[in-house]
């Protein structure tokens, strides 16, 4: 059986280096065409009419005025008379017209009569929730006895609201029919699986649905299915006999196309005199819109904590259902846990890093965390600069440091990759994956070039099309492991076939040959070799084409990572404004393929993390049930001037490289909320119990203690 492995450290030309993203130039110059940039000839624009009420029944719908408007091609009713609408923003009807403007005016001309029903949208106070339901209770050990015997106990009520994915390219697609063949340029994270979903809904064979996503503008977990607007777009195109572009308006994108569930909890945690965690009791609740939520995994990371009791209540709201948001459940669990542990460290009079360190045996990766805490602490000059809470002030501005730890799996998904070597030496990979902005195209090219000993620009990677071999959806940090493993297996097999042809010419056995530096040669005797072009010419007239798969033989990937982040903040206690001055991230992810792109993933996680720590939240109106900030004005994203200095340390080398490739998309976004909240508590001496850390919440927390001088 063939052996599949990554090259040893001293034999890596590209893996672990820092090549720039291959599609950087076309993206930054605008030459890259995203799905929303596709404008096939004869294109119609489609818009969706949404329900303005959070809970209502459709009593009547009249589309005649819209149908009569010049330029309107198709009016399509999505939910008709009698339908019960459960959230504002739910889709009612759609129009395809000659321009976006006409389509917008036409959906406004559709008259819908509603019977407005009572709604509930504010789950922070669960007592007012009409449908709250118990969603799990479990206990281990003897929490009551452990609390009774504990040295110190803290109790906190903490929480974070629902927030939006806010993809810069909204959800949507361009659909074109050619007879009963459908082509969809979709902004999706799931090129290979989307066709089947379109096909089922539209009643055509999946083999007649083509999905293309060469580039896309962000998904973060919210773009795995065609969604109703995908199917509606395809139906409009079919009825109109013309291509239809349907992308959500910004308010729709914020309201219905993705949110992260809220999480609230009343938590008690206790430690003994040695600063060891001994008991945990949490009563949590939250909402992911109409479906409510499941149990938040508490206590986070320190999951071996003995003596614990967990209760959870699911609170359905009249808001669109949540979607996976980068590291589902983890940022919430991390904030709820790390804030309480940080408060407990303060209660114990311990440096929080010391406190975490004393309890690392309650985690699954004690050695990793210990090493990472030491490195992060060093980068932050923690020992010299950290002071107990509330001691570092200059006038109104208080400074603070906070720490958090996190974990993630990140095992590579199912993936197939075709690698072809042409007799002229051209090498290409075809893979039905997608580059959702993470650099997948570049990573695959690196694996390919590394294996054949070529330069990055000498290989070609084609992805983002479901005619290529099936490769999994990009979710859960599973892409990099999946695509590198399938590509490596295919490339190693293809190379071995080439070597069989080359070996006789060099008077060697195939196993003695290696590819490197644009040549194929006898390992240990570079003089016995030939150029890659000559080598490829030995295969004869037909190309060699091999498919590689994941999962498969050889240890190319694994899973399970840790990470430590430290935040440094300034808090103006007279305005409540929090500024993140610095974020330090120490992260492992096994074998790093591209250090620049790995760091870029972590930067992105930190930037999103500052966003939800300080700014981002859904603000549903208790009166109308609508989101009041379904825009980019009061739904605030972190600007580049707001994120401070970001410093990233990737754990590499012995102990990490031999684990193989592990995903990295999720882990760096988990800790920022906790680390920043802890830094604010360190700065001002009191816990701000809710994220985001807005001035009103900061001033409220300070006022709870008498307020600033």
């Amino acid at each position: 059986m063939a052996d599949y492995s990554w090259p040893e450290a001293d034999r890596r030309a590209l893996i672990g280096s820092r090549p720039a993203r291959l599609d950087g130039p076309v993206k930054s110059t605008g030459f890259a065409k995203y799905p929303s940039d596709q404008n096939p000839s004869g294109l119609l624009a489609a818009k969706i009419l949404t329900c303005p009420h959070a809970h209502a029944r459709i009593v009547g719908i009249d589309t005649s005025a819209a149908e009569a408007m010049p330029g309107v091609r198709v009016v399509h009713v999505i939910q008709g008379e009698g339908a019960e609408i459960q959230w504002a923003g739910d889709e009612v009807a759609a129009v395809a017209a000659v321009t976006e403007e006409v389509a917008r005016d036409a959906v406004r001309a559709i008259r819908v009569d509603y019977e407005v029903l009572p709604h509930f949208v504010t789950e922070e106070n669960r007592d007012g929730a009409p449908d709250a339901r118990a969603a799990g209770e479990r206990a281990e050990g003897d929490p009551d006895a452990a609390f009774a015997a504990a040295h110190r106990t803290v109790e906190r009520t903490l929480g974070m609201p629902q927030m939006a994915h806010m993809c810069l390219e909204p959800h949507g697609q361009v659909c074109s029919w050619d007879g009963d063949e459908l082509e969809v340029h979709a902004s999706t994270q799931a090129v290979s699986t989307l066709a089947g979903q379109f096909a089922t809904e539209l009643g055509v064979p999946a083999s007649q649905v083509r999905i293309r996503t060469e580039y896309m503008g962000g998904g973060f977990g919210s773009k795995f299915s065609p969604d109703r607007w995908g199917i509606v777009g395809a139906e409009l195109a079919r009825k109109a006999g013309a291509p239809v572009k349907l992308f959500l308006e910004r308010d729709q994108e914020v309201t219905v196309a993705g949110s992260r569930p809220s999480a609230f909890a009343r938590i008690r945690a206790a430690a003994d005199e040695q600063g060891r965690l001994v008991a945990w009791d949490s009563d949590s609740w939250g909402s992911g819109g109409l479906p409510g939520t499941g149990q938040t995994p508490l206590p986070y990371v320190f999951s071996r904590l003995p003596n614990r009791r967990l209760r959870h209540t699911s609170v359905p709201t009249n808001l669109a259902g949540s979607r996976a948001w980068r590291a589902p459940n983890h940022p919430q669990a991390c904030f709820l846990t790390m804030a309480v542990l940080d408060d407990l460290a303060d209660e114990l009079g311990l440096d929080p890093i010391d406190f975490l360190d004393r309890n690392l045996d309650l985690t699954g990766r004690a050695d990793t965390y210990r090493e990472q805490l030491a490195i992060a602490g060093e980068m932050a000059s923690w020992k010299e600069r950290w002071q107990p809470r509330g001691r570092t002030r200059e006038g109104a501005v208080h400074r603070g440091l906070g720490v958090s730890v996190h974990t993630w799996g990140g095992r590579g998904h199912s993936s197939n990759c075709d690698v072809t070597v042409h007799p002229d030496g051209a090498v290409e990979a075809r893979i039905g994956s997608q580059d959702i902005g993470t650099g997948t195209r570049t990573i695959v090219a690196q694996v390919l070039a590394e294996t054949f000993g070529l330069e990055l620009h000498e290989v070609r990677v084609s992805l983002g099309d479901n005619v290529y071999p099936q490769s999994g959806p990009s979710g859960g940090s599973s892409t990099v492991g999946g695509v590198t493993a399938s590509t490596r297996r295919a490339a190693q097999d293809a190379l071995r076939e080439v070597l069989v042809h080359v070996a006789p010419r060099l008077g060697a056995e195939p196993e003695q040959l290696v590819a490197g530096g644009g040549r194929v040669f006898v390992d240990g005797d570079a003089s016995r070799g030939m150029s890659w072009r000559e080598a490829a010419a030995q295969i004869g007239g037909a190309p060699i084409s091999v498919q590689g798969r994941n999962p498969g033989p050889g240890r190319l990937i694994s899973s399970g990572v840790g990470g430590v982040q430290i935040a440094e903040v300034e808090v103006d206690v007279e305005t409540g404004v929090v500024r993140v001055e610095r974020m330090i991230a120490v992260q492992d992810c096994g074998l790093v393929i591209n250090r620049r792109l790995a760091e870029s993933q972590v930067y992105g996680g930190l930037i999103m993390g500052v966003g939800y720590a300080l700014y981002e939240e859904w603000i549903p109106d208790p009166v109308s049930g609508r989101l009041l900030n379904a825009d980019m004005e009061f739904y605030k994203l972190a600007g580049l001037v707001d994120v401070g200095s970001l410093e990233v340390h990737m754990m590499t080398g012995p102990g990490y490289d031999e684990r193989g490739v592990i995903g990295l998309g999720e882990p760096p976004v988990i800790s920022p909320g906790a680390a920043i909240s802890n830094a604010v508590a360190n700065a001002i001496g009191v816990r701000v119990p809710y994220l985001p850390l807005t001035p009103d919440r900061v001033l409220d927390a300070l006022a709870g203690r008498g307020g600033p001088a």
Binding site: R104, F634, T694
Partner: protein, 324 residues
């Protein structure tokens, strides 16, 4: 976007004539009005584009008087060394619009007369946002960014970046209308509407703001904005102050709050506290307290009272060149 007419007058008089017709609206930089139309929050029959009208743009510094045409862009004003040297606080107010695109397109007149950012208004519930039963959606709903000095049912805040400073300076607005030119204090441009359909400014149909004039000599002024983000973000609260008087004592102080009320809020009592006084941490604190006297915060914006106090203290500190 509903169809509308578009007129490009060549003179101020033509513009005035066009604006007299009901359903006409002046189009300056277009950074907001076009969005309001696209979102169907406002409807117009005709836009009267001012960009091609000569004489509406320009900056003049004549002795101690600064004249700025209404169509002058924020960036043009920011780049005018003379104006900024004479009135450094202008730079702070303009830089608060932390978007190069908005500064490049947005105009002085547009800033002064821009529509409120109230999220109920922007969602089509009207400026007063009254529910069918007459109750205030703002009072019953989420009012974290709303007025701490509401006037009747007007609970939105005036969003102008320049108005607080200009009002503090006692600047005049120059308005052309069917009856010719009239001048009024900038603060008199604003009112708090009390009935549906009423606007938040006092311009009559056909009236056009053509410029502002401010006396920039003999006073020290400053602006302080509390903004959550450094990136483009509305101030949560803003204060502008203008102090006159030679020597240590302040003769007269004008203190104006932005983002606090449906109009630029002149904190008369705060100014009175400082009249004839030296600026000290004590007198400044007393003025800051006086500035929020009578504040009536709602369920979610009590924090803005403290922000107002802080903004006044810090603006006074800046004007006086002292750390307070």
């Amino acid at each position: 976007m509903r169809p509308f007419g578009y007129a490009a007058p060549a003179t101020v008089d033509q513009a005035v004539g066009l604006l007299e017709a009901e359903g006409s609206e002046a189009l300056a930089g277009g950074t907001d009005l076009l969005s309001l139309l696209k979102d169907d929050v406002e409807r117009v029959d005709r836009l009267v584009a001012l960009r091609g009208v000569p004489g509406l743009s320009g900056i003049e510094l004549d002795g101690g008087t600064l004249r700025v045409g209404a169509m002058t862009t924020l960036q043009e004003l920011r780049d005018h060394d003379g104006a900024i040297a004479a009135l450094p606080a202008l730079a702070v107010a303009i830089d608060g619009v932390a978007s190069p695109q908005l500064r490049a397109m947005g105009t002085v007149g547009g800033d002064l007369l821009q529509r409120p950012r109230c999220w109920y208004y922007r969602r089509g519930f009207g400026l007063l946002a009254l529910a069918a039963d007459g109750r205030s959606m703002v009072a019953d709903g989420d009012n974290r960014y709303h007025a701490i000095f509401p006037e009747g049912e007007a609970r939105f805040v005036n969003p102008s970046s320049l108005a607080p400073l200009l009002v503090a300076l006692g600047a005049e607005a120059v308005v052309h209308g069917p009856a010719g030119e009239r001048r009024l204090p900038v603060e008199a441009l604003y009112r708090a509407p009390q009935a549906a359909g009423e606007r938040e400014n006092t311009l009559a149909p056909g009236e056009l703001l053509v410029g502002v004039e401010a006396d920039v000599e003999g006073s020290r002024s400053a602006v302080y904005e509390v903004r959550q983000r450094r990136a483009l973000d509305w101030p949560l609260m803003a204060a502008a102050v203008s102090l006159t008087g030679s020597g240590p004592r302040t003769e007269r102080a004008r203190i104006v709050l932005g983002h606090a009320a449906p109009v630029p809020h002149v904190a008369t009592a705060a100014g009175d506290v400082l009249a004839g006084q030296e600026l000290t941490p004590e007198t400044v604190a007393a003025a800051a307290d006086a500035a929020v006297e009578g504040a009536r915060p709602m369920s979610g914006n009590r924090y803005k009272v403290q922000l107002a106090r802080t903004a006044v203290r810090r603006a006074l500190g800046r004007a006086a060149g002292m750390e307070i």
